[in-house]
């Protein structure tokens, strides 16, 4: 008996010698769930898990907890991870290890979030599609692409459609780039929340309820979101009626919002093309809900807006009191407005050559009915441009 045990031990020891990086190929089929999950477990750092062409019908969430693994399909229109029949787990794919690259596949119809990565530093999302194929519905999952609590995040060339919260959501993270991506038919197209140092550029956000959101919320481990640059995006026609389940913060985003900044510091919005957003092209607000958290700052500060092209906006503002306000202003709101939270010290810099409005709701407890609107005078303040976000070279190399 003892012989057998030591034979086992020896066999185990033999297996442990270093191996060269390898490719594990998994194809769709009856046992795809177990095969694919096993591949994601037995993969070793440096390995590629290659997904074949076709439709993987999955019943449970997948997860990856091995560092330096690439999961690669044959293309977002050729390799489908189909979660229509999902029975368990809160997301389609969960990544909890560092230096992972996800590329060239699609995730469809997860019951919860699409792809979540948590505490996964230097993660790369590239040429992916996450979609709820039935169009905007309250029963769709919350987030499409969902990195959280991570350092160095790259989302490049992805398509996300149908999320009942945010298509691309980066939360409580640092050093983030979201670029070259399409977010449509979501409640929020792209959302950067409670995060530090983010560049969001060259994206198209359209047919969402709100195009691009930069939020900071209380009662979370990482707060004080700051240093976010939103530039060279096209944010147009975000007129999908809000379909988020109530209770979630995005359920309060007015239909027809282009770019919305809430309770962040140092947010720069520049050189974007904005238009056909019925509430506003750019909206800056404080966090106007009761909360208990002495460490939280509910006021948006040091927001700067310049160089943007504005098309039509503000003709159908979907927030409480918005219609009356528009009527009082001749039928439409200006394309940029600020709720006035924090008073003059928090007044945004507006360099765009369009009118900008303050609602004058200096006090965060004031309701929209108490608005004391006034046009913002031309900004004379100066500010320092934020540095660009630079990610480790290995991440950029992965998408070249």
């Amino acid at each position: 008996m003892r012989m057998r045990i030591f034979a086992t031990a020896a066999a185990i020891a033999a297996l442990s010698s270093p191996l060269v990086a390898k490719t594990i190929t998994v194809n769709p089929g009856a046992d795809a769930q177990a095969k694919l999950q096993e591949a994601l477990i037995v993969a070793e750092p440096g390995d590629v898990v290659e997904l074949g062409e076709g439709r993987f019908k999955l019943t449970d969430g997948l997860s990856l907890d091995v560092a330096k693994v690439t999961v690669k399909g044959q293309g977002a229109g050729k390799t489908f991870l189909d979660f229509t029949g999902q029975l368990g787990a809160g997301e389609g794919l969960l990544v909890t290890s560092d230096d992972v690259v996800l590329r060239d596949f699609a995730v469809e119809n997860t019951k919860g979030d699409g792809i979540k990565s948590k505490g996964a530093d230097r993660i790369v999302y590239h040429k992916l599609r996450v979609e709820w194929t039935g169009g905007p519905k309250e029963t769709n999952g919350a987030y499409g692409i969902y990195p959280v609590e991570s350092k160095d995040v790259l989302v490049d060339n992805v398509v996300v459609r149908g999320a009942s919260d945010a298509g691309i959501y980066v939360g409580q993270s640092q050093n983030i780039i979201v670029r070259n991506s399409l977010a449509m038919d979501n409640v929020a197209g792209i959302e950067i929340e409670n995060s530090y140092n983010a560049d969001v550029h060259d994206n198209l956000a359209t047919r969402n309820t709100g195009g691009i959101l930069v939020f900071d919320l209380p009662n979370l481990p990482q707060m004080g979101g700051h240093n976010v640059r939103i530039f060279e995006n096209v944010v147009v026609d975000n007129m999908t009626p809000n379909f988020a389940p109530k209770g979630n913060i995005v359920a309060n985003v007015p239909t027809g919002t282009g770019i919305m900044v809430m309770a962040n510091r140092n947010v720069h919005v520049f050189d974007n093309m904005l238009g056909q957003n019925g509430t506003a092209n750019v909206m800056i607000v404080g966090y106007r809900y009761p909360y208990e958290d002495p460490k939280y700052d509910p006021v948006a500060k040091d927001v700067a807006i310049w160089g943007n092209q504005h098309e039509k906006a503000g003709w159908d503002p979907k927030f409480a009191g918005g219609a009356q306000l528009a009527a009082a202003l001749g039928g439409s709101l200006p394309p940029i407005f600020w709720d006035g939270a924090g008073g003059d010290a928090a007044r945004p810099y507006v360099g765009d050559v369009v009118p900008a409005l303050s609602l004058g709701l200096t006090d965060l407890k004031a309701t929209p009915e108490a608005a004391n609107p006034s046009m913002l005078p031309p900004s004379t303040a100066t500010f320092t441009e934020l540095p660009k976000v630079v990610l480790p070279e290995s991440m950029e190399a992965a998408v070249r």
Binding site: M1, A34, E38, D60, A89, Y143, K246, N248
Partner: protein, 333 residues
């Protein structure tokens, strides 16, 4: 002989672990019998195993659980002041899951191992073969049809989920390392004095022997609030803690003093999606019917249900306890 055998297995595991990382991945025994924990069936544990149960257990689709500790020969367990147990390298924690059939005979579906190797804990799921004589390693998890009767008499047929190796870690992780959850002294219950003494003989207590914590289902053991907090700690606190899988939620049920937004009281959802059920707060004092916590406990929809795993069924009795607790709390002014 049997104890010696287990000691050998533990030693072999410890040695194997030292020899490299691959043992945590592909190099695990494909059959449970290789460990010698069971003598040809889940109902035949080896004599050296220490059996225990928990006063407040984690709900897993009404499955019954059989728990064992296999300690290396001569090794000691340290019980901290907080009751948490520190097991020596070579320890195995063994947990079998199953249901009683129509005549009450237990049929074990799976046995999960937590092995304490030199480089840390490793979690492995084994699924018993149809003949019940041995179990096979299923790193990728499995689904097994299961039928059982709920305590209220309702007959259930579910797709029982055996977690994959990563899902084991999802619940068992602290700062990204795998840790045991269950064996906390104040929550441990023994079948008899002999079993208790068997473990105490191998345990070193850093402080006084901790008193039992309130049992979720025993009104004599504590107030509704104390029992609700016990339930939350065991059923939610392994993920909902600052170092756990749900750290980003800011909602913490591990060791707390029972108040405030971190416990969910008056806390708005963050990443709940449709899990919110159109309600504003995780816990709204006085209003279980408007509390997201209750909504998510009642749901069996994978995008809504909490906990996320082992929840093809709602835990009616646990829900009732938490409803009673929330109802007893004074509504906000």
């Amino acid at each position: 002989m049997r104890a010696l055998f287990i000691a050998c297995v533990c030693l072999a595991l410890a040695l194997a672990a030292r020899s490299g990382e691959a043992t945590t991945i592909a190099g695990n025994p494909p059959l449970l019998s290789a460990f010698g924990f069971f003598n040809g069936g889940a109902d035949k544990p080896a004599p050296g195993l220490i059996s225990y149960s928990l006063g407040t257990p984690l709900f897993s689709d009404y499955a019954e659980k059989q728990r064992f500790i296999a300690l290396p020969e001569g090794a000691k367990v340290t019980v901290g002041i907080d009751g948490r147990m520190v097991f020596p390298v070579g320890t195995a924690l063994i947990k079998s899951f199953g249901y009683g059939d129509a005549v009450g005979k237990m049929k074990i579906i799976e046995t999960r191992l937590l092995l304490h190797r030199a480089e840390g804990w490793v979690a492995l799921p084994y699924v018993w073969r149809a003949d019940g004589k041995d179990a096979e390693l299923k790193l990728g998890g499995a689904r097994v049809p299961a039928s059982f009767r709920k305590p209220n008499g309702e007959q259930m047929s579910i797709s029982y989920a055996v977690p994959n190796k990563n899902q084991c870690k999802q619940c068992h992780s602290t700062k990204d390392a795998i840790t045991p959850i269950g064996p906390v002294w104040q929550n441990m219950v023994f079948a008899n004095e002999r079993a208790k003494k068997a473990l105490m003989a191998k345990a070193a207590f850093v402080g006084a022997v901790p008193a039992q914590q309130p049992r979720w289902d025993d009104p004599k053991s504590g107030t509704v609030e104390q029992r609700a907090l016990s339930y939350l700690r065991v059923n939610c606190g392994h993920c909902h803690k600052p170092t756990g899988s749900a750290s980003n939620s800011g909602l913490f049920f591990d060791d707390h003093d029972g108040g405030g937004a971190a416990l969910g009281i008056g806390k708005r959802p963050v990443a709940a999606g449709r899990g919110s059920g159109n309600f504003d707060f995780v816990i709204e004092p006085g209003h279980p019917e408007r509390s997201i916590l209750i909504h998510r406990m009642k749901s069996t929809d994978p995008g809504v249900a909490m906990p996320e795993l082992g929840r093809a069924t709602a835990h009616d009795e646990g829900i009732k306890l938490l409803e009673d607790w929330i109802r007893s709390k004074k509504p906000a002014a």
